[in-house]
Amino acid sequence: MAELEWQGEIQTGSLRRALRQALRRTSPGWRVVAEGFLAATSPIDLLAIGARGELIALRAATSAPADGGARLLARALSDLAWLTPRVEDLHKLAPELGLRPLAPPRVALFAPDFDAEVLGAAAHLADLLGRERLVLTRYRALRQQGQLTLLLDPIGADAPRTAAALPDELPIAPPPPSAPLVDPPSPSAFRTGLTDADLRTEPLAPA
């Protein structure tokens, strides 16, 4: 498979495009709604809305981070803190997105690899925050028909756990009970920015 490996530097724009493409296959319920969305101090690579109407911040490293992903993890926590009080405002600004104001935001981090310490810290944080609120995924950059393609490998239960981690069945901060969605997306989500009012036919002018 070595001949399929992506050679050379990966540009941020290319990585974002490839990530969007990969997510269409691995997470078809996610809808990417913005790119380069400025958070507290730095832009979030992609902003998506999940299948339950929750906001998801996606950050990706273009190469294996020299710090093992510690900075990426710090930014993820910063994103959660920054986005949480703003979800309701975003919902008001763009009600057609199907954003659920009460759903806590999530973050997803992507890198070729993460250090064991970072994985341990992330696992502990995920226990505290709720399993789905912080997800780390390794990716492998491949060349397919001359184009960048990502193979995603979510890091799950095999991630190192800290001694202080709590059992799965006792999460400290479970997400609030889910309310029924007004506009639940299907696995292949129907998309339109129109409302029924937009389809109302006006009286025709004479030809």
Binding site: S14, R24, V33, L90, P95, Q147, S188, G193, L199
Partner: protein, 279 residues
Amino acid sequence: MPRDLADVLHYFLPELEDDPGGDAPASEPPPIAGDPDENELGRPPAGGAPPPLPILGLPIGERDVVRAALAWNLAVETARLGARATLIAPDSDRGSPLWPEPGVGPLGCELRFCPAKDLQSLYETATTLATRLAREARHGGIVFVRIPPAWLDDDTTPAEPLRWMLLLSGARARDLDETAGLARKLCARHPVLELGVTLHGVESIAEARDAFDALARRTQAESARPLISYGLLVDDLHVYRAIAAQRPIGLAHPQSPAARALMDVARLLYEDARSRVLG
């Protein structure tokens, strides 16, 4: 009222990135289409050139005036968004009622004919053109390609060319059956193809949503592949008037539901075009 987060992003940040290496708009108008200039199309991109524009295939029959009109209008609306929009059709379409006169048309949208005789050569022309146009398309764009449906049945065509295709489907049961069959065939033959669907001729969003969900479930069950939704289009009288006059609906009847729907579908296509995997 804002409809999409992208509509309000300027409150928070610079929007989508500009294409790297993008140039100012071309000072000279692009060559008028007729036969594409093979030498010009064949020029290799300069070093550090941006990736080629995405190519969107649209299966449209030789007498399918409505789908052709919708495709042409989608190209016009894509150009209105600031994108470079070019539609390529086989030379056999020349003089047919499917298309207006070739060349640069409304809002810079361009129609070209090419002498392709099969899917492979059609895509080769489209790819060369997409590579060339990318250099002058500061805000990206789309190369729309009219594919004669019979060419999709050619077993000798390599699977490689098709990466992104849009099926324009009616919402009636018979239309959905036909679209599902085509989707099944395309998915089986083109493993990397991303297949999108726009429902046309619908009267409500609920009708389009139900039709799309039914198609998506069926495609998932039959081919284990997701469908991408590209909204809906309506067939009001403005559509047929505009087809008869060969005028873009968005210019002739900008306040009509048909124009609003076209604009919305073009926006979805353009957003996805900018996120194509282009290395």
